[in-house]
Structures are given as C-alpha cells and as structure tokens.
Symmetry: C2
Subunit: 685 residues, 2 copies
Amino acid sequence: MGYTEKDWLAINTIRLLAVDATFKSNSGHPGAPMGMAPVAHVLFNKFMKFNPKNPKWLNRDRFVLSNGHGCMLQYALLHLFGYALSMDDIKSFRTVDSITPGHPESHDTPGIEVTTGPLGQGISNAVGLAIAQAQTAATFNKDGFPLVDNYTYTFLGDGCLMEGVSSEASSLAGHLQLGNLIAIYDDNQITIDGDTACAFTEDVVKRYESYGWHVEVVHDGDNDLESIEKAIQKCKDVTDKPSLIKLKTTIGFGSLQQGTHGVHGSPLKADDIKQVKQKFGFNPEQSFVVPQEVYDQYHKKAAEGAALEEEWNKLFADYATKYKAEYADLTRRLKGDLPEGWEKNLPTYTPKDAAVASRKLSEIVLSKIEAAVPELIGGSADLTGSNLTRWKGAVDFQPPSTKLGDYSGRYIRYGVREHGMGAIMNGIAAYGTLIPYGGTFLNFVSYAAGAVRLSSLSQIRLIWVATHDSIGLGEDGPTHQPVETLAHFRALPNMMVWRPADGNETSAAYYVALTSKHTPSIVALSRQNLPQLEGSTIDKAIKGGYVLHDEEGADVTLVSTGSEVCICVDAVKYLKEKHNLKARIVSIPCFEVFDSQSKEYRLSVLPDGIPSLSIEVMSTMGWERYTHEQFGLNRFGASGAYKDVYNKFEFTPEGIAKRAVATVDFWKNVPNVRSPVNRAFQQLI
Amino acid sequence: MGYTEKDWLAINTIRLLAVDATFKSNSGHPGAPMGMAPVAHVLFNKFMKFNPKNPKWLNRDRFVLSNGHGCMLQYALLHLFGYALSMDDIKSFRTVDSITPGHPESHDTPGIEVTTGPLGQGISNAVGLAIAQAQTAATFNKDGFPLVDNYTYTFLGDGCLMEGVSSEASSLAGHLQLGNLIAIYDDNQITIDGDTACAFTEDVVKRYESYGWHVEVVHDGDNDLESIEKAIQKCKDVTDKPSLIKLKTTIGFGSLQQGTHGVHGSPLKADDIKQVKQKFGFNPEQSFVVPQEVYDQYHKKAAEGAALEEEWNKLFADYATKYKAEYADLTRRLKGDLPEGWEKNLPTYTPKDAAVASRKLSEIVLSKIEAAVPELIGGSADLTGSNLTRWKGAVDFQPPSTKLGDYSGRYIRYGVREHGMGAIMNGIAAYGTLIPYGGTFLNFVSYAAGAVRLSSLSQIRLIWVATHDSIGLGEDGPTHQPVETLAHFRALPNMMVWRPADGNETSAAYYVALTSKHTPSIVALSRQNLPQLEGSTIDKAIKGGYVLHDEEGADVTLVSTGSEVCICVDAVKYLKEKHNLKARIVSIPCFEVFDSQSKEYRLSVLPDGIPSLSIEVMSTMGWERYTHEQFGLNRFGASGAYKDVYNKFEFTPEGIAKRAVATVDFWKNVPNVRSPVNRAFQQLI
C-alpha cells in the first residue's frame, strides 16, 4: 500500500526496457511485459523473498514466467534487482550466445528457475516446485526451524490456460491442496489470432474453482496496485488451496496499439516508442534508461533479501548443530551428490537367477535404493500396479486431511496425466532437493513430449519409468505398442534412453541415470519376463554398449537391446547348428552413453571386418549408425499374446538367423568391411 | 420408458459376453462393459440411428468409446445388432489378426468410427465428428432436406477426463456450442491406482459448466434405465450446447469384486464368473450365450435402422434431382475422390520467381486450391498469422451467435490447443465429408504426438501445416526450434513427413498429401525465404526424392531437404572453385514416399560408386539410411537472427564444403562405394 510516483517510475522503466530491447533486436514480445509490469512490481517488491547475490538460496520464493515469451519482463526485473544480468545482456536480447534468449532458459541465466516458453509448461513446473517445497518442508522443518516456507508464484496467459498440460497440473494441484502456490493470470483478452472471443470463452474462475483452487479477481491490473497487493495477500492467507488471481490488464499498455494483438509478438514502431516514452515522462531520444532512483529502490529490496538470507543462514547453522543428520542430508542434496555408497544397494544377477520382467527388475532396484537415496520421489500416471513404481511401504504424498498419506510422502499419485507429470517432475527437480521419477507405458511418454524435451534442454535429472516397452506388451495392441518412441527420444539431445536386457543392465541404467546430474533418462522396461544373461555386468553396461558374447573369427555381429537380446542368444546357437556361422552379440542399452565412449572402445565393440545386424522390435530408424543391416518393425504391431505377436513378426531365433545369413551373404564380397563407427568427421555438439 | 425383464436380459447378455471374452483371452477389461451395459442398451436402442448393414451410412449417429479399453462392450453391441462381427470374432478377442483387438481400431472393424484406447482421444475425436456434422449440415442441408442431422455420442471415463487433450477439446466444444454432441461420463470412482479419491477430486460438473456445456447427473446408472433415458433426452433438447451426463455406475457390476479396481483390467476368476451368471439367471456352465430374444430385440432395432436409411436414401435421391451440384459434390466427397482437375490449380515456379518462405508457399497453395477442393477445412492453434493457414476471405467456423462466422465456415480457430486440434482433426476426417489441415509450429506438433500416431494407425488423411521448422526460425530460440521432431515422425509408420525446398516441392507435398487417402502428412515449412530452385519440378518431387543437380563424374552427392537445399547449391559452386570437386545434389523432401519407389529408381538417385553426405539442420538420426556421412544438429539450437544461428552451426556453403571434402577423403580408398540403398534383405511392412 501507499504507492507513489516512485513505483510508477519503476513500472514504466520496466515497460520501456522491454520496448527498447525488442526494438533493438527487431524481435520479441513487448505486449506482456508492458501489461504485467505493475503486478510484477508489486509482487517482487511487496511479497517475494530472494537474494540476487545468491539465486540458489534454498528458501527463496520461486517465480515462474509461464508465458515465457514475455521474458523481457523477467530480464528487466533480474537486471534491476542486481542479478548477474547486465545492461549489456539486456541489449543483447535474442542474439546468439547471449544469456537473454528469446524465451527464458534456466541453465543459462541466473535467476531463471525453469525454462519456459512452450505454453502451459511453466504453470505446471510451478506445481512441481510447490510440491517439492511441501515435501521438503515436511521432511526437514522442525519446531522452531521453518527451514523452507517459500511460496511459488507464477504468471500465465490465456495460452497457458488453453494448453491441456496446465489443466492436468492444475487439477492435481487442487487435489493436493497446495496452499504455497499462487498463479496470476494475465487476462488481457488477446491471443495471436486476435481476441480471446474467437476461441477461448470458458469461465476461467469457475474452472479453477472446480479444481479446488481459491480464486481472486482484480479488475484493473493496469492502475490499481492496491487491489493487486490485497489480492495477493488474500491468496497467501488461504493456506489449504492453491490460488489463482484473474488480473485484467491491457496488453502493450501505453502503446498506440495497446489492447490489440499488434503488440503481442512484434516490436513497437519507432514513432509509437517515442510517444510511449513521452507519455511515461521519459526522454523519447534515449533508450535503455534506468533512473538511479529505480535502481536504488530495487537494490534496497535486494539488500533486504540478502539480509533475509543472512538470517536464514544463522537459522540453518543452528539447525546444523541440533539436527546433524538432517543438515548433512539436506546440504548433500543441494550439491546434487548422492549418499556415499548408495550404489552398493544395486542388485546384481547371474544366469542362475530367475527370469524376471525388467519392469519388475526396476521395482527391485527402487525398493533396494529408496532408503539409501531419500531424495527419490516417485509416482505414476495411474499405472502403479503395471509400472511397479511404488516400493512396499511407501507413503503417498497427499494432503494429511485425505488420510491417504501426508506431505512427507515420497510417492505421487499423478492420475492419468502424463504431460502434467512430466512438467511437474521438471519443477520438482528444479527445486533442488529431490530427484523425481515417474511411471507410465513407454507409448504414453509421447503424450508428455513437450515436457520431456524441456527436461533435456534444461538439463534436469529425472527418470521416466517407461514400462510395456514394445509389442511385447501383447494383447493391448497397436494403440499401446510403441514403434517410433525410442527413435523419437534417442534423437533428442541430452536424453538418455535406456532399454536394459536383464537385471544387471537395469541396475546400470539406474546407476547412470542417478549419477548424471544434468541429463534426464527414459528407462524402457518390458512387461514380459527376461532371463539373466551370461556376460552382462553393471560395469560393462554403464558404458552404454558392450560385447555380451564374443566369438573368435565371427561371421556376423548381432546388435540388440532389451527383450530381444535373449532371443539373439538363442539365434547364435541356431546359426551355429543350422548354418555353421559364428555370431557375436553386442548389447547397446543406451545410445547416448555408448556414443560418449572413446572411438577405440566403440570400435572394439563394433569392429571393422565383421558385418553387423541390429535386432529391435521397433522402427529401425537410427540403427544404421551402428550396424550394416537392420531387423526391426517399421509398421504398427498387433493385438495378441506376446509370443504370438513376436512370432508374427519373426522376432524368433529362426527369424533373426534368416536375416543374419542374408547379412553375411550380402557382405561377403566386400573386402575389409568397415565398421559404422568410422566416420568422415566429428559431429558438432 | 417401460423397461422390462427383456431389457435386463439383453444388458446381462452384454455383460457376460465381456466376462467370457476377457476370460477366454485371459486379458482385457471386463469392469467398464459390466458397468456401462445399461446406458449402452438405452442409448443404442432408444436413441441411436444406425444401420448395421451399412456402417458407412452418412447420416448415422456416431458412437465413440473414449474409454476404449472397455471395447468388449462395443464388440458385444456390434455383434448383437448384426454388424459383420461374428461370435467367432468375439471369441477371438485380443488374438493376432482378429477384428477384435485389445482396443477398438477403426480401419479393422466395421462399426468402429475411430481408433481409441489412448485416453482422452475419443472424446476429442467426438468433438471433431460433431464439428464435421455441423459444417456438413450447414453446407449441404436445404429446406426440407435435413440430409445430415446426426448426433455424436461418446462414453468416457475418469482417465479421459484427466488427460489434458480432453480439456482442450471440451473447452473448444463449449465455445463452438456443439449441441449435437452428448458425452456420457462413467463415474465409477475407480482408476487403476484405486479410488479416484487419490488423484481426481475435481468437481467435474462445475468444470464442464465452466466450458459452457449442459450437464445432467444420473445417480443410479446401474439400475435406473428411466433416468438414463430422461437425461439423454434432456441433452438432446439442449441444442445450443454440448452435453455431459455424469452417470454413477458400479464398475464390474455383478462381480464379487464389483466397485473395486480388481475388475478394471483383469478377467474375472472362474468362481466369480459362475456366481455372476447365476445372479443374472444364466447357466453357469455355458459361455458366449446370447438368448434368441436378445438377438430378436436387437435385430428389430437394426431393421428399424435399415428402414431409416431406406427413407433417407429416398430423400437423398430427391435431393439429387433438386440439387445436382451439391449431390455430385457430396457423393464425390464420400468416395474420398478429389474434384477432377483440382491439381491444375497447384502453382509451379521457375528460378526467376522470387524467393519466398515455404510457409508462404503453403499459403499460396491453399489459396489456389481452396475453391477447387471445397472439402478442405483449415485452422491453426492460435498461430494463423505465423502459419499462414487462412486463405483470404475464408469464413470462420463459429456459432452464428458470435457474429464471428457461421457453421458453414471452413476455418477453425482452435486456440492454443495442439493436442486437441490433432484429435479433433482425426474426428473431422473420420466423419467422411471433409479433409482437415491444421497449423502450428513444427516443434509443437510434438504436443499432439498422442493424436498424431493415431492418425497414422487409423489411416486418416489430414495435413499438419508445421511452420517455423528449424533453427531457421531464429530469435525464439531452442525452446521453439525443433531438432528431434522430424526423426520422431519419420519413424512413425504410415506418416508422410514433407520438408519442401521451394515452391514446386511445396506443391508436390500438397499433391501427394491430398491424393493419399489413407496416410496423414506433416508438411514442415520454413519461416525464412527460400529461392526457387533450378531443377525442381512437381513431377520429380512427388517421388519423395530426386536428383536436383547432376554432374558427370561427381565426387560426392549432397543430400538435403528444405531450407538447406539452396545452401547446397552454393556449396556445389564453392566445392568446384575452391576444391576442384564435382558434387551432385539430391533433394529428399519425403522419406516415406521415396522409400516406396522402386529400388532401381532409388539407386538412380543415390547410385553406387559415389560417397554421399546429408545436410539437414536437425538430428542426423535416420539419415544413415540414405547417406554415408551426415551433417546435422545433434544438439539444441540457439536464439538469434537466423543467419547468425546458421553461421554458428556452420550451415553455410563453406561449412558444407568442409564436410564434403572430408567425406570424399574418407571414402576415396574404398573401392566400389556401395549405395546405402542396397540392403541385405527387405523390411517387413
């Protein structure tokens, strides 16, 4: 309350930084920053707790710009508060190698919590951040030690509300009664296609109430700072529900084109810029101007934030003496390190052990490591009993009032919401204290593709437990049988796609997934039982690819993954008996990891002089990188018992042998067969 | 009204067919059919208009089982009504090559309108079917000729409601005031993880009201057939809103495990089956029993449907004489044929024509063919001005009361709802009178991956106008720049992914997309301008790949797509001048179509004896199938002006030449370099 000209000066400074930066780069979105500068000013100055000198302070309030195209708003704020984002960075907006890209990227820019821009992701990440806060608080806070009590704030636009991912995450947030989450909806009535009247006429207030949210409406977000402040305060006062504030604003406030989609995604014209600056009392001939009193006001707030952290550090030091174990655990987690020796819990297998589905092998891993790795927080998109993602005795993450669990729980019932789950996991991981994993069928990881690519881009550690990974799921049929899915995610940079063949490889997949701090993983797991293989070990498998079975003077190398490796083992015998051919077997459970090995190692696995054949019940796309010939499934599967389906498509020892013979015949006249590992030049990375 | 024992006999017959079929196949979902048999019986007998002898009758009511796992319900209905689905087919449930797969597949089974199972798709397809009905009615109905006045009914479960795609489609359906759409929500309170209380506690009634739907609640869907009938009738009476009926049922009604998730996805135990049969008055020792009176009742209804069609055929014959042109148009559309000579409207180009972005070339195609191909119905996920999907003068498909268009409109404002758009397009295409296309950025087609794979699986003709197809979009940065997307969709069976290099190739893409009745297409289009190439023609490009530039005694073949082809043209000059190397250029705008050409043709394009290098600013995955070496982008892009981004990653004549030289050097000692077109064996298709 008590807003003065000083506040409007700051607000208009932010607006004009967005105007100048988009004009200079001749690209970008001035409209949202101009419309949302007032609420941003109020939120950041009156409510948010943060220290620009330490953007990683654990108990900071989180801010997520879900309408990420408005990022000049956020860059302007970061600059004014004194984060490591200079005026030169602002001037480099949307230029190559700047820290001010076209949409906010968390791995590049200090103060950006999560990578946004693809609509609907940010609000869903915010739900994840709020879940992580609640879980961390329930785990670590003690009487007199409110170590983490931060809020998560997010701004979002119509576009975010239209995207299904936000519906999924918002419905779950209501169920989970996340009182620490406050979303501010920029109701400017404008979309790229024009007015929201042409496609978006739902009653947003009613919809969010139906999800169990508290909703406030502010009618004049352009001018009425007091009402904005009151609304945010009311939302903070509601502690058992997430809150949405519907804030009426004028997009491009101040522009001659304000209130139209003309200011959404294009810079203002030079004349318009002049008149805006005049209107706001700025010199129309100057650009990138920040009055000193604005810096002063914002730096004062920043100093208050630094003082808050100082206080918190004392609290934390006190905590360290009283709760040694918890302190050690929490500080370890914040570094991203795993507990020493945790990997000793990973199970190992010998061929004498029983055949087990790899989804079950995954369950065994989770059960064995959950105590040693307390930052693991699991869940499933309503397929717990199929994904086998819940260890025995796990507590559900639920509002205590439901009597179904509590906030210290480490298992999340995501509901049938794969995309929401993916985006929420991104948010959970971004909080800094937890490592999320989530289960669904491999085929339905595709529903979450939008979130998955942001996991990769923003270098987040998380795990998709992707069961029912092929036609081997059998009767559910082609609607549920992935064919293109591995190719899709293998083509995604910085994504590890694992498809383990047995118990040792499953342990290896988890080992690498959990120790890779900046890379997400998808672990593709079978529904059907797989034997424990002769020749597999964790140490070999963590290289991503290795020789499972060698043979002096081999005629052919069979290269495979997952449930087809054991069929290759039988095919080797068949080839020897029926065709007098010698075959090696190579298992490549993870392309991404295998590719990162030395060329020398890769050539030892896939040597010159021997033709090779890949075998995988999926699209062959991508296998040409490793093998001369490919046996795969470049068509949809079929509904039936899994063995019948494998037989139909000839994924049998005989079917493999037939193609291995063809491979040997085809390559026998080629002298010095060259391994596909040999390339003319290095790829850019 | 006036339900008797006869009705309950039929209902219990359906329930037991589901019980027996899932037991025999030892797989499947008995719970939903047992719970929904009453509402199915009422809906199909009292309301639905259909003729089992002609499942393609235009004016039939459409039924969509959005909770597709309950497909034994639908198979039982189809069988009882006398569709071409025999008792042997029922007994072959979930076995290889049956027409009764684990989830309903429209291309396999008569009477199945759309392929469902992946949750949330069916309800969204239903929105598309309802849109298509409204558009077709507005286009073809005349005074006294209500040619199409059918309804679309859909059953859905909790899972469908949780999926974001259904939120997107339902919000749009409310906006569009689709009074011809009635959805029945099986509120059985059970999900795979247990009770809906653990993850789904939103107020569904309020949510659907917020979307602008009419909502009815039936409290006893297990027993109260009268209330079910009344509710459906009330929904039919509301003509300016879609309707949802929230129907309380007991999952697995009759089983000892009724009302638990134990009956969701597993067959009943033998003992349980016996007691259910006894409870329902059936012989517990017999299976797959249909009392003759049930057949009689259902066949009577079928005969009434046949009579309705007969009447309609007369109306249509009358229409034929009065509205010759409309009749000819409609009957042509129903055959899936395009108007004769439509392709003459496709623009052609010569190198003298101006450089134009391929998104603009796409707009030109659409503008030139829209009049000739009146079944085209376009739209965009709120990127109309960027995708250039709306021809000048197009009318929006909107409720007339909005004054923004009318139901005869051929342009849909989908809002920021890519997944919803994809699923709605599947429904529109399934109606039979329209060919949908929809625009978004290529990167965000991934948001719709769940719907896209169903387009392919169910062999639907539609077009994604996927603009901003690479790092060439520039400033928006890596959050918007696709890298993995082409590999993803190229790996999808029965999907044509086009990336045209110029105007002739863009025309070719549309030609093949529109003339391929059973294959969807994604057309990837540039934001930046592309020159018209010497050597391109529509005739060459419709082969999917061709020699753009030949050179006697070439040292290397450059193989490329889209916006990189013109850079290859400059690289050829550079190679000649600086390195005295001769290079050919091959353009492969569509893998899927090129792969379908004869081996002889493909070898003429990619001949033996010449090493080849692919150039595409994407993941290299898949290019090894065509080329010896690959230059691509196996990392995320960057935010900046597009030329700067291309320079950063060396997609320049110099950068290409450098790698071409490396390719020539690397392969020069290999005698008789073999074209990758040569394979040891044929792939299964």
